[in-house]
Symmetry: C2
Subunit: 413 residues, 2 copies
Amino acid sequence: MVGDIAKRWKELSGNSKWKDLLDPLDLDLRRYILHYGDMAEVGYVAFNSDRRSKYVGDSCYTKEELFARTGYLKANPFRYEVTKYIYGTSSIRLPECFIIKSLSREAWNKESNWLGYIAVATDEGKKLLGRRDIVVAWRGTIQLYEWANDFDFPLESAVTVFPRANPNDEPRIANGWLSLYTSTDPRSRFDKTSAQEQVQGELKRLLELYKDEDITITLTGHSLGAVMSILSAADFLHNEWPKITPSLQHRLSCVTVFAFGSPRIGDRSFKRLVESLEHLHILRVTNVPDLIPRYPVFRFTDVGEELQINTLKSEYLKRSLNLGHFHNLEAYLHGVAGTQHNQGEFKLEINRDIALVNKGLDALEDKYLVPGHWWVLENKGMVQSDDGTWKLNGDRSKNKQEEEEEENNCKFP
Amino acid sequence: MVGDIAKRWKELSGNSKWKDLLDPLDLDLRRYILHYGDMAEVGYVAFNSDRRSKYVGDSCYTKEELFARTGYLKANPFRYEVTKYIYGTSSIRLPECFIIKSLSREAWNKESNWLGYIAVATDEGKKLLGRRDIVVAWRGTIQLYEWANDFDFPLESAVTVFPRANPNDEPRIANGWLSLYTSTDPRSRFDKTSAQEQVQGELKRLLELYKDEDITITLTGHSLGAVMSILSAADFLHNEWPKITPSLQHRLSCVTVFAFGSPRIGDRSFKRLVESLEHLHILRVTNVPDLIPRYPVFRFTDVGEELQINTLKSEYLKRSLNLGHFHNLEAYLHGVAGTQHNQGEFKLEINRDIALVNKGLDALEDKYLVPGHWWVLENKGMVQSDDGTWKLNGDRSKNKQEEEEEENNCKFP
């Protein structure tokens, strides 16, 4: 599971752009990518996407219980503590799958969604990881592929995020990405500040806290979350990096993005801006049959290094023409575990549990006897009251309810 | 909830064929029908129908925990103890939905399925019910309607079940029903005896046990289970009733069937045989838009009294052309709670929880904010092991596993 990660973390984090590690795909790098992929997956499985729930759009679990309730804790040896939840909104109208709104009039929040979390390695985690690692894990949106045909969002100047960009080469990115990253909702108690401000603020706070240790920032996400991870990493290096002390610059040796199934973000000027950020390492993992990384097609370009996997070659999976089977994050992680170089046959180099593939898909061959779409709350969150009737409130963990009540008590004493 | 059931149970059990109770539908009779419907529903929600599970075709729960784990206990004041599980097989090839077979080579049982249970009122239950009630609750098959077009099973003589029938008017029933009711599987440890023998044997045992009390036998089931409940009731009255003592005949004042959404069972000779059984009371509940009670169309006839409900009139439900929305047992029970006489408008006379309708359907209007198909085990029975991997074994309750292991220990010491 752990391999030589504690020794090789600089190389694995891309300080030489993963030269000679991708083909054939290095075994420790597989482990490393899977680790960050698992952290991105936590965002999916904790997210409440049931529009009939009052709590749609939020995490089902508190920061404290997030890793335990999502299966991460038992499956993964690297220990982190979640320090902040990221919330976001959009000032322009986005497809429903970006910001999910409740059908309930008693919704906890009309406009904001939980977009991910920030976590920092514990002392125990640091031992296995070789340094104090700060992770920004962005939640994706599984339905993004349903929008693939329309999501040619107009390009818009990103100069608000990158004010020091060359005025003659102004970066432009899709207005949908920009809006989600920078919008605020003054009515909300979660995102009076934008996702941008929440993330950059927390990074500054944590860097200050751990400025005397070897430290890294690793950003990860899948699909829409991959976009946000690249954008927030570039933002950090463009705006914050120049302001930090040389000593901390020395301590902070890598800012790395593991981006799974990322659609394209911006134009050639944006690409040039990203390439100018010398401390930024981006590994874009793409699955050969997944179409999302090829969208939007015109006027957009790819950034970072690319690692191609190919789940079409996996004999564990059903033959399928369902784009969801190719774009799903767990399918990607299965591909990372088993894809061979030079178009070789698929073989699981890492003994990753194949059952995970079916959490949100029915993609595994039936002979493995794993139910399809099996990641579900008991009775989808319906809980029986003492009077025998059933109500949708189990989608909120008990701790989460208490946290919520405490917050409400503080606000409205 | 309880109404005057303890006083009116003879009338409610049909000793005057529900005369003047059906239109308008008596309030206590609504409660009474819902109670037995709930007992039939227990068979559905406890049944493991996941073909990828080793335990497909069995009850997920032990006899002791059946009512608690299926939500019955909190919602229903009438207390029973489950005394026997019914298992069955078929010697002719039936549609997959009748006997579900596992995809696993390690299946608990290749040929048999759990077909229902027998329960007897506890002393506490007897107080509310007015007498010692023995219930035979047959599990249905939710997919029956998918077979409606083909299930014109050939009629076959039922003289093996009804040996004393008039030889010039030999009853004939669908060979599928007959096979399921009478087949044995000598290789199985569950149904070395047929469902018929299991049920009739247990009824004799319980009658002997409670012969000095006021006692009733109530049989209930939905769809295929409704067929079995009518068949087993007729079997009892044809074969066992003549053998019991006059004193017990006096004590046993009603043998009643509440049959929900029953397809037709046999021909006119079968109907004449059923009508000749004077102590048998059958109430067939049919939903106007449900087509199953009209099948098979030719050479088959209806038996018993009919109570028509009409869920098309319910404003709680989405407009739908999905036959499942009309045939589903919880939809029937919603209809029993709210159907008005003389084609009046729908109005819930019993404050039955509407959320129940969506247990196995997505039929409720969205505004009620109840997820569709919400009756699911947590993670569909996938359970994480300490090593982080996921396995399908949570579909077996812990107690059930222990019960199983004990049985195995006894058999193979």
